[in-house]
């Protein structure tokens, strides 16, 4: 059913699956030990957040969860490559990106609990709300980038989407607009090889990064499980964008280790051994091995991070359970920014109706 798939030979890699640092002519990057340790920490914490969320969904505390298991390097690496003023446009699965933008764990979970359709302040975090309609946000990213240009600011955008999304008209129109306006946008495609049950061949018969050239800007494939390479390639593309050299498409070749969402049953469409193969390419393990071998981090450090993760798990579990329920007024709040007669009328109606039960005056 599925033959084993690996990144193209051209894919940028700085860290082998075995945790060995390899040089690269274009994308070599030298990161401080602090940054390297932080990347590790980020990935561990994001994974714990993800695992806890999956568990909470099983317990009925969340309506749904879209796990990012296996994609931590792609998300954290690109998210951490952004400058503070850059702006991210993530999808429902990009918890590592939201994390890197400083979105609080409970803000990330709020939508999945069903108390909001957003969760955080997009302007303060410089991170758009998760987008669910596949591909829409690619155009938002380009428009935002055009705004950066109009402002003459040195900022850039990262627009995230999946391999499946590359089939949508919106993503391709985003390529056109970004190219024509030379917008400061990095298109970051996480090719996790699956769009729900459909494998990547259903969406392209050539590697996704090759799509870019035909729209007039560079495309590059990166080992999406190699956080260093992802960070290097994204930082490079962001620099290009900020300095007026226009868009780049990055294809981060990775793998969705978990189900599409907690509603999904991947055993219906893929073999378990495919997952096993990718377990050997785990993004966290490979950085851990590298850190340990290089003496950048030791067991004590790993234990601290583990402990932090445990604390995060507690915070998440408790926080989710005690998340305030939205009030029924929230149904009508912020539908419009300015006064609207129907909102007032229907708000009154609903209040009166609900009150009729409180009074014991119901039908």
């Amino acid at each position: 059913m599925t033959t084993e798939r690996v990144p193209a030979a051209a894919a940028v890699q700085l860290l082998t699956p075995e945790g060995e640092r390899v040089p690269h002519p274009d994308y070599d990057i030298s990161l401080s030990d602090d940054v390297l340790r932080d990347l590790y920490r980020d990935m561990v914490l994001v994974r714990r957040l993800d695992t806890e969320a999956t568990a909470l969904q099983r317990q009925g505390e969340l309506g749904l969860w879209a796990p990012c298991l296996g994609q931590e390097a792609a998300q954290v690496g690109s998210g951490r490559a952004m400058h503070e003023n850059d702006f991210a446009f993530p999808t429902y699965r990009d918890h590592g990106v939201a994390w890197a933008r400083g979105v609080a764990p409970l803000e990330i979970l709020a939508m999945f609990r069903g108390v909001t359709n957003g969760g955080w302040d997009p302007i303060r975090k410089r991170c758009a709300p998760y987008m669910i309609v596949i591909g829409n946000q690619a155009l938002h990213g380009v428009g935002y980038g055009m705004g950066i240009q109009l402002d003459g600011a040195e900022e850039a955008v990262v627009a995230y989407f999946g391999d499946g999304a590359t089939a949508e008209g919106d993503v391709n129109e985003a390529f056109v607009f970004a190219s024509v306006y030379n917008a400061p946008v990095v298109f970051f495609c996480q090719n996790n090889q699956w769009a729900i049950s459909q494998s990547q061949e259903r969406h392209s018969r050539v590697p996704i990064y090759e799509r870019a050239a035909g729209f007039g800007f560079p495309g590059v494939q990166v080992d999406g499980n190699d956080v260093l390479a992802v960070m290097a390639v994204t930082a490079h593309a962001l620099d290009r964008a900020r300095s007026g050299d226009g868009p780049t498409l990055i294809e981060a070749y990775t793998y969705r280790m978990g189900a599409h969402t907690t509603s999904d049953d991947p055993t219906r469409y893929r073999h378990a051994n495919e997952v096993e193969v990718w377990r050997l390419r785990d993004p966290i393990e490979r950085l851990k091995v590298f850190l340990a071998r290089q003496g950048i981090a030791d067991r004590a450090y790993f234990d601290v991070v583990e402990h932090e993760a445990d604390e995060l798990a507690i915070l998440v579990r408790d926080g989710v359970r005690s998340m305030p329920e939205p009030s029924i007024d929230a149904i009508f709040d912020n539908v419009y920014a300015e006064p609207h007669p129907l909102m007032e009328e229907q708000r009154r109606t609903l209040h009166a109706y609900e009150a009729s039960f409180a009074d014991g005056a119901g039908a």
């Binding site: 309506g63 108390v115 729900i196 259903r202 969406h203 149904i331 609903l350 609900e354």
Partner: protein, 328 residues
């Protein structure tokens, strides 16, 4: 008679239609090996092959646009839109092409396309997964729109939709997918001498005081309301065909009861309720004892799931409207 869920009844109807006509092909995201996210196409790819049950790329305009081409080639494509909120990328192809091609070619090309859309709320989903966009399609000339309310109706109408030479947008009430009911699989859905066609409303419960018109997921809600209504006798009509509307059935009921409440999940403003109300009022002006009242979603984007119980019409809100109609 077999006990089937609505989802399985639709599967059975699709299977029958595919057996009856080799030109019927299924097309959509994840409908093959996975059987669709609601498993409605479960097993069909295995039995009919990958060429008749095709996983499509993730692009709704592409799905509907290629269905137009398949129809021009003589096929009868049945496409699945994964959720209500994802039909909009295909809106252009549906409104400008699917609905107009037959007219444009003066009848020379037919568009026997069925667009299946699981719709409506009540399943605790995230944004875009609980919408009721049917009014966009009922307002579009050239389309027909159906919504079944129980397994037997689903089994028959999906086949009739496929057999119809016009395009049909077929709204499946997703929160009723798992409701079971008796289904007679031996009925020949397309033998219109034996069974009524799908383009009519169904009187699903007799009553005398107030007519309640509803469709899809709200039929069960309204039947429950009718059961719960002690003093007021409710007549419940399942519209089933949202376009064309079968007004005769509604009008003849209202002529008897003198009162009408229309119920749907879709937002009120510009929803189907307004059309039903306007036509009934025109035809029953002198028999109406009260204005037609609507019970519908509030005019807001579908709220986060923890609020949907307050948003969705339920038994109590139906009875509240019935009371108001009686008190008028």
């Amino acid at each position: 008679m077999t006990q089937l869920t609505m989802a399985k009844a639709i599967t059975a109807g699709l299977r029958k239609a595919m057996e009856d006509d080799p030109k019927v092909v299924l097309f959509g995201e994840d409908i093959g090996r996975l059987g669709g996210v609601f498993r409605v196409t479960d097993g069909l790819q295995k039995d009919f092959g990958e060429h008749r049950v095709m996983d499509s790329p993730l692009a709704e305009s592409g799905i509907v646009g290629t269905a137009v081409g398949l129809a021009m080639r003589g096929y009868r494509p049945v496409v699945e839109i994964q959720f209500d909120g994802f039909v909009y990328p295909a809106f252009d192809q549906i409104v400008s092409q699917v609905a107009k091609m037959h007219r444009r070619t003066e009848g020379l090309l037919m568009m026997p396309i069925v667009v299946r859309i699981p719709y409506g709320g009540g399943i605790g989903a995230v944004e875009h997964h609980s919408e009721s966009p049917e009014a966009y399609f009922t307002h579009t000339a050239g389309l027909r729109v159906l919504s079944p309310s129980d397994p037997q109706a689903a089994y028959l109408t999906i086949q009739q939709a496929i057999a119809c030479d016009d395009p049909v947008v077929y709204f499946e009430p997703k929160r009723r997918y798992w409701d079971k009911g008796d289904v007679d699989l031996s009925i020949d859905a397309t033998d219109l001498a034996q069974v009524p066609g799908p383009w009519r409303a169904r009187l699903v419960r007799r009553g005398t005081d107030v007519t309640v018109a509803c469709y899809g997921p709200m039929v069960r809600t309204c039947l429950e309301a009718a059961e719960a209504s002690a003093d007021v006798s409710l007549e419940v009509i399942d519209l089933q065909s949202l376009s064309p509307l079968d007004m005769d059935t509604v009008v003849s009921s209202v002529e008897r009861t003198g009162r009408l409440v229309v119920v749907h999940e879709a937002t009120a403003n510009g929803g189907l309720g307004a059309e039903v109300a306007t036509r009934v009022t025109e035809r029953c002006f002198y028999s109406l004892e009260a204005p037609v009242l609507r019970v519908a979603g509030f005019d807001v984007p579908y709220p986060p799931s923890r609020l949907e119980e307050h948003f969705l019409p339920n038994l109590d809100r139906v009875l509240d409207a019935v009371d108001r109609a009686m008190a008028f």
